[in-house]
Amino acid sequence: MSTETFGKWYREDRLPHIFCTGCGNGTVMNCTIKAVDAMGWEIDDTIFVSGIGCSSRAPGYISTDSLHTTHGRALAFATGVKMANPDLHVVVFTGDGDLAAIGGNHFIHACRRNIDLTVICMNNMIYGMTGGQGSPCTPVGKISTTTPYGAAEPAFDLTELAVAAGANYAARWTSYHVAELIKAIRAGLETPGFSFIEALVQCPTAYGRRNKFRQVGEQVEYMRSHAMLLQKKRRLEEQGKDVPDDMFTVGEFVRRYRPALGVRK
């Protein structure tokens, strides 16, 4: 039993899902479904594609057709779906380990080709499903099972990477900023060409437990208080002031209309 939108798009017989208590992936699923429903798309002409990982279990709870593919290759499969039938609306759910680590090459080339896909990356900054190994998005100094003395390497900034590689739309929000995330996903779905939305999510089990966010609310509070709007960061840089190191940037990074692949003329 739930409201009309959720009742239509969720497979209610499969709920409750297997995500841990307080996992942000469910929030991102809610926002995606709200945005897709606001677009007026139907269940029959929408496809959700995912790879491997916590985030990639999301399409299994949605009543549209979906593909649960090999690790990192969600974008390759989604490209195939879009090329085979350009009338379908293809949305890709992926995680940071899936997209940035093993599927990094697919990601930059999908951005370069500018295929008409919407990619929603649930970035929990760790490999959650396999037990908390460090991913390319683990911030410097954070503890994971493979970086027990703190991650030494700088983390990937996926949204900047998408901008540099040529995506038509790129934005970053967190699972706390639900209204903004819905707007960003909606804008991404509307934009022809490759749209990339990065949603930072909390991971209380694998990430928060080792990094002083033992309660779910603590990490959500961190995302609320340490998010800096892109415009504010640019303004600070223009004025020559220091940008605090511990803040991360949120907002819409780019929206442009380069020629896109897979759009019917």
Binding site: M1, S2, T3, P16, H17, T21, G22, N30, V178, P204
Partner: protein, 90 residues
């Protein structure tokens, strides 16, 4: 309209307690039969969506439903509908 928490889906993460502007959701203290402390509703008739949905004819606020990772929060129609006096403190 009436605010409802689905006890079969809630996993007790208490994210709803952080977003409600009226602090309707309070951390639960008693475990249910699944071992989960479900948040308790403190005067749920103050909820914006419950009060004004009929007037505006659309979904209002809804932050708790969106942030709930387990899709456990929803609204139910009250029947028969009865006018109710509500005191709002900000």
């Amino acid at each position: 309209m009436r605010l409802v928490i689905d006890e079969r889906r809630c996993k007790g993460c208490n994210l709803c307690t952080t977003v409600c502007p009226y602090h309707i959701f309070q951390e639960g203290r008693h475990l249910n039969e699944r071992g989960i402390a479900i948040p308790v509703l403190d005067r749920p008739e103050r909820c914006t969506n419950c009060r004004l949905r009929r007037l505006y004819g659309r979904q209002l606020c809804g932050a708790c439903q969106l942030i709930c990772p387990d899709q456990a929060i929803y609204w139910e129609e009250d029947d028969p509908y009865a006018a109710e006096k509500v005191v709002i403190e900000y």
